[in-house]
């Protein structure tokens, strides 16, 4: 079972990495969810698997009677699940907000902080797609109000 679970972890990891390498931030988000699950399984499996014996102390006893499951990784995984959820909620809000402001979920087009100095690829036909590109460097972006209208996202939503 341990070996099979290790293989499953490998599949989860590979899928999550492939998703996180996508330029679409929604897929990136999916990858993040998978990565979180995979990491939790890694912690859990490292503490070994014990079937049918939860780490509880019987009434009247001072310590568990017989072998029970490893409590330590369970505590760690509990924490990790919650933190992973916090991270996910924040990332979700960030993706949503980015889409509202920039009108794109393509990370290539999110160039507001680090504009591409020379136009290297044809930007998205929608002017709101690449508001970070200086208007002077790109003849298709002569409408400078592109940077101030976040309505592009809403229009498509």
């Amino acid at each position: 079972m341990e070996l099979l679970l290790a293989l499953t972890i490998g599949v989860l990891m590979a899928s999550s990495v492939y998703l996180m390498l996508d330029r679409n931030v929604i897929r990136f988000l999916f990858g993040l969810i998978l990565l979180s699950n995979a990491a939790n399984l890694v912690i859990f499996l490292s503490g070994r698997l014990t079937a049918g014996a939860p780490p509880l102390i019987d009434e009247g006893a001072y310590a568990p009677t017989g072998v029970v499951a490893n409590a330590l990784p369970q505590a760690l995984v509990l924490t990790a699940i919650v933190i992973g959820f916090g991270l996910l909620a924040f990332t979700l809000a960030l993706v949503y907000r980015t889409y509202r402001s920039l009108g794109t979920v393509n990370s290539d087009e999110m160039r507001l902080a680090e504009p591409v100095s020379a136009p290297r690829t044809t930007p998205h036909p929608d002017p709101t797609a690449a508001p970070g590109t200086p208007p002077a460097s790109d003849p298709t972006l002569d409408k400078t109000d592109a940077t101030t209208t976040p309505t592009g996202g809403e229009a498509r939503a």
Binding site: L3, A14, I26, P55, L56, A71, F85, G86, E114
Partner: protein, 776 residues
């Protein structure tokens, strides 16, 4: 030039002016009082600074450092007195004084330092002060460029020097100069000797502007004239020479030392002399003759005989006296007439007699005419050069002869031509300078004469002890004006003859040099610009390469690095262990099913181009993971996982509705490179996991929690006890993280400029709140 600023009414620069004059004057008197004592025995004093690193603020007082200290404070007094009048009404004069005092302290620290590291710190202080002073007229782009150029050239040299000092300190086992200087023989035979030497020379040659690093010094003349006189002639640029002299007992005396120093020094001296003839701006003429002096000093320190060291120390003093006086003199002329062009100036002797006197005293010393001390300096340089053996004697003598001839010519250009003949028309009517500006050049000029007439004082108190410090052993130093008829005197006479002939034709020579320079393609200054442009292009290139601003690239680099580093460690450390012992029996069909569901869910989420399919697939994975927790005795974890998973699916689905559809798979396509990284990452995870499972299991922590849970924390659910009792602080930290995430998400969704809050907008914020509630 010095007059086009709004004037502030200050007498002698006000309080800052008087302070700036008093400080060097007091220090000068203090150092002067030490002279008789130090002439007999050098001293080391000091306090500890960073004892754990062997760095002390020790002070090494010997003939060399004291001579330098007297030059720094003495010329410093003349310069500050001069600047109080020259710049005292400048609105930024207090800033100027601050820089100048910073420089003076740095320079004094440099020459007095008894520890290599503290020497380096002061070395850098002078570099920075020089940068600030050259760029004093910060409105001028030329000033800023020159300042930056000086900073970059000398700063780079400084860093190389630091490397050399660290290597030297490591080899010698100490950063204290006294201990390093006493280990000369060991150091010269050490295999790292050449490396140390080259690193030190890089530092010294950039600071003292030896060819090919000379170009920053003439540009540094963008600084106000007193700064040029002080930093870029009399003191700072000699720091490199000082370093060479200081290190001579430790590093000197080898073939490499001799040839590196005499070749670079000789080339610099002659190249600079020729270039100085080419200039028409008298300040530029003087700047190039400073280069000549620095080259000469380097050459003689390299020659290394007792006579050569003595000649170097003598010329050091001689040059500082006459060059500072000449710079200050040309400042007065500039101030009074509004120009420094040699073609325009003439006949100033009648209008400015005292300035003319100072110029004459300094220039006669520069030309090496008796009875000035400059004559003695030149005689001893010839003697030292002739005293060397073999090719070295010819090289040094020829170089010094060429340089001396041209110094004679330059002396005529800067101090004879502007003052003789009829008074010419200048931008301002020429008039005599005020006394604070005249005092310095006159005193310095007079000293050139006094030391020439009474060389015994110089020999006993300054040149002798300094030579002793540099040469490493005590020998009699005897200076004299008249040494009888010998080869040096013949050379001197030849120098005068050749110099006089050249002076008569110097304008024609200049024209020819100008034509040669214009036709030449070697231009160090332009080369510097090309180096800088190349550096910027390199920086831009590597920024584009590394910081693409592209999330995809960053992620690929991170995952690939992780895979390569962990994979390499795994292979090198034998992570594969004893192989895999696999038992497939005993696995319940339900377990097979759950694992298969997880794997298929993950793959489906990866390949689908439907958002909702992906969300559902992720839900399958999450529930599958929860089932694993249930099967393997983790009910608490399973419950949390189920709750969170449901929440995640709902939230993601809700937000998805407001985000665009995923692009059709063909749009982004199958990314083979990324798939390779992902596959490698996944395989490595599995392998590492298997390796972990094969290591012996350490249950110590778990045992502790099992035994302590009830007696110490009165809890029967061990997982809960760990979370809320033993590791309660961690749980608190976790809650803080969740709160920060909630606040961040809320701020993102509500504070959006331009994003109109709609009822749907608030849902993700509730998400975060719900998340908090779930945990509590």
């Amino acid at each position: 030039m010095a007059d086009d600023y709004p004037k502030v009414d200050r007498v002698m620069g006000g309080a800052s002016g008087w302070f700036s004059i008093a400080l060097p004057a007091v220090l000068f008197l203090y150092f002067l009082g030490l002279v008789p004592q130090i002439a007999e025995t050098p001293q080391v004093r000091g306090i500890e600074w960073v004892p754990s690193l062997g760095i002390g603020l020790s002070v090494l007082l010997d003939g060399l450092s004291l001579t330098f200290a007297l030059l720094i404070t003495g010329i410093g007094t003349a310069v500050t007195l001069y600047s109080a009048r020259y710049l005292g009404q400048h609105p930024d004069y207090p800033r100027f004084v601050a820089y100048l005092m910073l420089f003076m302290v740095g320079m004094l620290g440099l020459v007095l330092a008894g520890n290599l590291i503290s020497l380096f710190v002061f070395w850098e202080v002078t570099t920075i002060a020089s940068y600030l002073l050259i760029g004093f007229n910060a409105d001028s782009a030329k000033s800023r460029r020159s300042a930056l150029q000086a900073l970059l050239v000398t700063g780079t040299g400084g860093l190389i020097l630091l490397a050399g000092m660290i290597v030297l300190g490591t080899v010698a086992g100490s950063f204290e100069l006294v201990e390093i200087l006493s280990q000369g023989e060991m150091l010269r035979d050490h295999p790292w000797y050449l490396a140390i030497l080259l690193l030190f020379l890089a530092g010294a040659f950039t600071k003292s502007a030896q060819v090919p690093f000379h170009f920053w010094l003439p540009n540094a003349m963008a600084a106000p004239t007193p700064v040029s006189a002080y930093l870029h002639s009399a003191t700072m640029v000699k720091a490199g020479v000082f370093l060479l002299a200081r290190m001579n007992p430790a590093l000197g005396g080898t073939e490499a030392w001799f040839w590196m120093l005499t070749l670079f020094g000789g080339v610099t001296a002659v190249f600079a002399s020729v270039m100085s003839l080419r200039q028409t701006d008298i300040k530029q003429v003087l700047a190039y003759t400073t280069l000549m002096a620095l080259g000469t000093l380097t050459m003689f320190i390299g020659a290394g005989t007792h006579y050569a060291i003595m000649a170097a120390m003598l010329f050091l003093v001689v040059h500082s006296l006459y060059k500072a006086a000449l710079f200050l003199m040309i400042g007065i002329v500039d101030h009074a007439t509004g120009t420094r062009e040699t073609g325009v100036l003439g006949g100033l002797a009648k209008a400015m007699p005292l300035t003319g006197l100072a110029a004459a005293l300094a220039a006669v010393s520069m030309a090496g005419i008796p009875p000035m001390v400059g004559f003695i300096g030149k005689e001893f340089m010839y003697k030292a050069g002739l005293g060397l053996g073999g090719f070295g004697a010819i090289w040094v003598t020829v170089m010094i002869f060429a340089a001396s001839v041209m110094m004679f010519v330059v002396a005529g250009i800067v101090a004879w031509k502007p003052f003789r003949g009829e008074l010419r028309q200048t931008p301002h009517a020429a008039h005599e300078g005020p006394w604070p500006m005249l005092a310095g050049p006159l005193v310095l000029g007079a000293l050139s004469l006094i030391f020439g007439l009474f060389p015994g004082i110089l020999a006993h108190y300054f040149v002798g002890p300094a030579t002793h410090a540099v040469f490493g052993e005590v020998r009699e130093v005897h200076l004299y004006l008249w040494g009888g008829i010998n080869m040096a005197l013949v050379l001197s006479l030849l120098t005068f003859l050749a110099g006089w002939l050249m002076y008569r034709r110097h304008e024609a020579i200049r024209d020819r040099l100008t034509r040669i320079e214009e036709g030449s393609r070697v231009n160090f200054d332009a080369g510097w610009d090309r180096v800088l442009d190349g550096l910027k292009a390199l920086a831009a290139w590597q920024t584009r390469l590394i910081q693409t601003g592209n999330l995809q690239t960053y992620m690929a680099v991170i995952f690939a690095s992780f895979t390569i580093l962990v994979g390499a460690t795994f292979l090198l450390r034998g992570g594969m262990g004893s192989g895999i012992n696999y038992q497939a029996d005993g696995i319940h069909p339900i377990q097979w099913t759950v694992l298969a569901l997880i794997a298929m869910g993950a793959i489906l989420a990866t390949i689908t181009s439907s958002r909702m399919t992906a969300v559902a697939a992720l839900g399958v994975v999450g529930i599958g993971v929860a089932l694993i927790f249930i099967m393997f005795s983790a009910p608490d974890v399973a419950i949390t996982q189920l709750l969170v998973e449901v929440l995640v699916v709902v939230l993601v689905a809700l937000v998805m509705l407001r985000l665009p559809h995923l692009p059709v798979r063909s749009a982004s396509g199958f990314r083979a490179g990324h798939a390779a990284i992902a596959a490698a990452f996944g395989i490595l995870s599995t392998l590492v996991m298997i390796a972990v499972l094969q290591t012996p299991f350490d249950r110590r922590l778990t045992d502790f929690f099992e035994i302590a849970s009830w007696p110490e924390a009165h809890g029967r659910n061990i997982v809960n006890v760990i979370l809320v009792d033993f590791r309660a602080t961690d749980t608190f930290g976790e809650i803080v993280v969740v709160v920060i995430a909630a606040v961040g998400a809320y701020a993102l969704l509500r504070g959006a400029p331009g994003a109109r809050p709609t009822p749907e907008d608030e849902e993700p914020a509730q998400v975060a709140a719900a998340d908090k509630g779930e945990k509590v």
